[in-house]
C-alpha cells in the first residue's frame, strides 16, 4: 500500500497516457479529456504543501525568536493578506469595487518592481562574471569572448556605426553556430528526458517516493 500502489499508479497511468497518444480512438480521447480536467485539480492542491511548509518554517522562526525572525512577518502577512484582500474584501482603496484593490496594489507596485529590479541587478553581477570568465587565457575563452562581444555590439546602435558587418556577423553567429550548439544540447536533453520518463514509469527511478512513512 505504501510503495507498491503508488508505483503501480505511475506505471499504469504512464503507459495509458503514452499509448493513448498513438491511438486516435474516441475512448482514448475520453480518457485524455478526463485527464485534462483532473490533472489541474490534483496539481492545484500541491500548493497547500508549499504554503504549509513556508508557514510552518516562518511561524517556527517567530516562536523561537530565531535570527532575523522579524522578517518572517514580511512573508506571512502578505501570504495570507493577498487571498484575504482578493477573495474576502476585494474593495478598492477608494472604497469601490474596481480593479484598484489592495491585492492589485501589492502585486503591481511591490511584486512587479521588486522582481524586475532583481533581474536587472544581475546586469551588474553578470558584468563582473564576464570579466572573470572572458579573460582570454586560451583559444576557447577567446572564441567565447569574441562571440559575446560581437553579439552584444551587433545589437546596439554603436555596432552599426562601427561597421555594417558587426550586426550582420552577430546575427550570423546567432543563426548558425549558436543554433548548432543549442540543437546538440536540446537533443542531449531530449534523450535524457526520455530515459528519465521511462525510468520513472517502470519504477527504476523511485526517488520521488521520498521517505514519508517509509
Amino acid at each position: 500500500m505504501k510503495r507498491t500502489v503508488p508505483l503501480m499508479i505511475v506505471m499504469v497511468g504512464g503507459i495509458l497516457m503514452m499509448v493513448q497518444y498513438f491511438i486516435p480512438h474516441q475512448y482514448s480521447q475520453v480518457i485524455f479529456n478526463n485527464y485534462l480536467e483532473w490533472a489541474p485539480i490534483v496539481g492545484a492542491f500541491a500548493l497547500i504543501l508549499g504554503v504549509g511548509s513556508l508557514t510552518r518554517l516562518h511561524t517556527h522562526k517567530i516562536r523561537r525568536k530565531a535570527q532575523n525572525w522579524q522578517y518572517s512577518w514580511a512573508v506571512l502577512i502578505p501570504l495570507f493578506g493577498m487571498p484575504l484582500f482578493a477573495l474576502i474584501i476585494p474593495q478598492s482603496l477608494g472604497g469601490g469595487s474596481d480593479v484598484h484593490g489592495v491585492h492589485d496594489f501589492l502585486f503591481m507596485h511591490i511584486q512587479v518592481p521588486i522582481q524586475s529590479t532583481m533581474f536587472s541587478l544581475l546586469a551588474f553581477y553578470i558584468a563582473s562574471a564576464a570579466f572573470r570568465a572572458f579573460r582570454a587565457k586560451s583559444a576557447l575563452a577567446t572564441i567565447l569572448l569574441l562571440a559575446a562581444v560581437i553579439v552584444m555590439l551587433g545589437q546596439v546602435p554603436i555596432g552599426d556605426v562601427l561597421g555594417k558587418w558587426l550586426p550582420n556577423t552577430g546575427l550570423w553567429i546567432l543563426r548558425y553556430p549558436n543554433l548548432a550548439a543549442k540543437r546538440a544540447i536540446m537533443l542531449g536533453v531530449g534523450f535524457g528526458m526520455l530515459a528519465t520518463n521511462l525510468k520513472i514509469i517502470f519504477g527504476v527511478e523511485r526517488n520521488w517516493l521520498g521517505g514519508a512513512g517509509k
Binding site: 501589492l106 521588486i114 532583481m118 543563426r175 548558425y176
Partner: protein, 209 residues
C-alpha cells in the same frame, strides 16, 4: 492618488533592491521577504480563481459532475504529508501526476526535442541563388550539430580522426554558442536595467520624458 502612491512605493522597493549593491541591509531583506509572501499569496488567488473554483467547486455545486470528487479527494491527500503517521498517502496524488505526466511527456518530448530538431537540421547545403554566407552557415550548422553531439558522446574516448577531431570542433561550436547566449543574456539584463532607470528618472522623478 492610487498611481502616485504606487509609483512612490515601487520606487522605494526598486532602491531597496539596488541597495544590495552596497551591502546586504535590513531594507533589502524586507523587500526580499515581501516578494516571497506576495508571490505565493498571488499564486494562491490565481490557482483558486482559475482552477479550484471553475474546474472543481462550481461544477460540483452545480450538481452534475460528482465524478470530480475523485480528483478533489486525491488532491486533498497532499495534506497528509503534514501528519507523519499517514504521510505515505501523499504519494498517491504525486504518483497520479507523475505517472500521467511522464506518459504524456514521452511522445511530446520525442517530437519536440528529437524529431523536430533532427528535421530542422536537415537543410540543403546549397540551393541556386543562395548567398555564400548562408551556404557556409548551413555547413556550420549541420556539421557543428554533429560535432557538438560527438563532444557530448562520452561512451567512446575522444581520440582519433572521428571522435578526436569531431569533439575538438564540437567544443569550438559550443563555445561560440555559449558566447552568443551570454551576450544575448547580458543585453536582456541591460534592457531591464534601462527600464528600471527610466522608471526612477521618468515615472518617479519626472527628470526625463
Amino acid at each position: 492618488m492610487y498611481d502616485t502612491i504606487g509609483i512612490w512605493v515601487g520606487a522605494f522597493f526598486t532602491l531597496a533592491i539596488y541597495s544590495f549593491l552596497y551591502k546586504e541591509n535590513p531594507v533589502y531583506r524586507l523587500a526580499e521577504h515581501l516578494v516571497v509572501g506576495i508571490s505565493l499569496g498571488y499564486t494562491m488567488v490565481l490557482i483558486y480563481n482559475t482552477v479550484i473554483l471553475p474546474k472543481l467547486l462550481e461544477p460540483l455545486f452545480a450538481g452534475n459532475h460528482w465524478i470530480l470528487i475523485i480528483p478533489g479527494l486525491l488532491g486533498l491527500l497532499y495534506i497528509t504529508r503534514f501528519i507523519p503517521s499517514i504521510a505515505w498517502l501523499s504519494r498517491y496524488p504525486i504518483a497520479f501526476i507523475m505517472g500521467t505526466g511522464m506518459g504524456i511527456g514521452f511522445p511530446l518530448t520525442m517530437k519536440a526535442y528529437v524529431l523536430r530538431q533532427l528535421e530542422a537540421a536537415m537543410v540543403p547545403l546549397y540551393e541556386s541563388g543562395m548567398p555564400w554566407y548562408e551556404v557556409f552557415g548551413n555547413i556550420v550548422m549541420i556539421f557543428g550539430t554533429l560535432a557538438a553531439l560527438i563532444y557530448f558522446f562520452f561512451s567512446k574516448p575522444h581520440k582519433g580522426l572521428f571522435f578526436g577531431t569531431g569533439s575538438k570542433i564540437g567544443i569550438w561550436v559550443i563555445m561560440l554558442g555559449f558566447g552568443a547566449t551570454f551576450g544575448f543574456t547580458v543585453m536582456g539584463r541591460i534592457s531591464l536595467l534601462i527600464g528600471r532607470i527610466q522608471y526612477l528618472l521618468g515615472d518617479w522623478l519626472h527628470l526625463i520624458e
